[in-house]
Amino acid sequence: MNQIATDATTGSAQATLFADWRDYFALLKPRVMTLVIFTAACAMAVAPGKLHPMLAFTGILCIAVAAGAAGALNQWYEADIDALMKRTAQRPLPAGKLAAGEALAFGVTLGTGSVAMIGLALNWVAAFWLAVSILFYVVVYTVWLKRRTPQNIVIGGAAGAFPVICGWAAVSGDTPLFAWMLFGIIFLWTPPHFWALALFMEADYAKAGVPMLPVTHGLPETRRQILLYSCLLVPLTIAPTLLGMADWAYGGTAITLGAMFMWMAIKVSRSTATAPSQMVAEKQLFKFSLLYLACLFGALVADRLLLP
């Protein structure tokens, strides 16, 4: 365990008396949760089969709570590096609003509770993948990879992609090729998305000693890797249409959005900016990548549900 978290356990016992419910809510990383909920809900809408609205709500709730639990456990383990970065220094643990033990207990309770609940209310295939998603994020990404390799984001991207598998399994009870294609889309989308952010937050990661690609291999190599992953991502988004799993309404959207994504990735790869204030293309790609994923999954749902 890390130093700050240990200090928080011993030194902020009285501070936690003043903890608000908002501090516990902040442990769940609600902004990250939004994307997880959205992609999982889209997978549930696209998956074959019918689910009672109450059970569908329970499934989404469990996936959201599991993502929150993983976020809480991540913050529990990373309190020391969170304290060093401007972006994360105000999180409840580094700010001394909560004790480390409380965050750990909160994360473990929510994690086990969400897995048990989705298993009992829906099915145990979804529960299995939900447990895998939590363990992958906490053990593989946070504890094992994040501080050891610049490929942390690539492998950690799987953690953000598992909720799609959980959502699909919650409805159909299995995980066919189409579900794994959606998994692959989020998996390949994660590196360009996070590395675009890491390019203009590089100084923060360097200060915290996190081996993000811009810190270990420099800005030009990161830009090259962004372009490489974008080249892999865009064909995969079109593949469901080519394989007859989705209609051309989705295919057309994927091609249009993919062309825009590639154009921005090329702009980033040609950029030579070194100061964060000059990194216009990088910031543009980061913001667009969020819209890209939302529109892509939205188009998939529309393609399946709205069109004949």
Binding site: F18, A19, Y24, H52, L55, A121
Partner: protein, 65 residues
Amino acid sequence: MNSDPANWTDAERTAFYARRESRNRALGILLFALVALFFGITVVRMTDQINAAPKPVAAPTVPAQ
């Protein structure tokens, strides 16, 4: 902030009570929502099982001789 509650100032005591109240309210709402959710899930699952159960077939009536 004093570590000993006996040494708290009025402002600290007020802040402590306000935060504790907000935590308790949030916990109460959460527990009530969980009870409602479990009840809803139970009703839906039981209804599914009742609908899936084979319907009793009426015994064939024997025509009067």
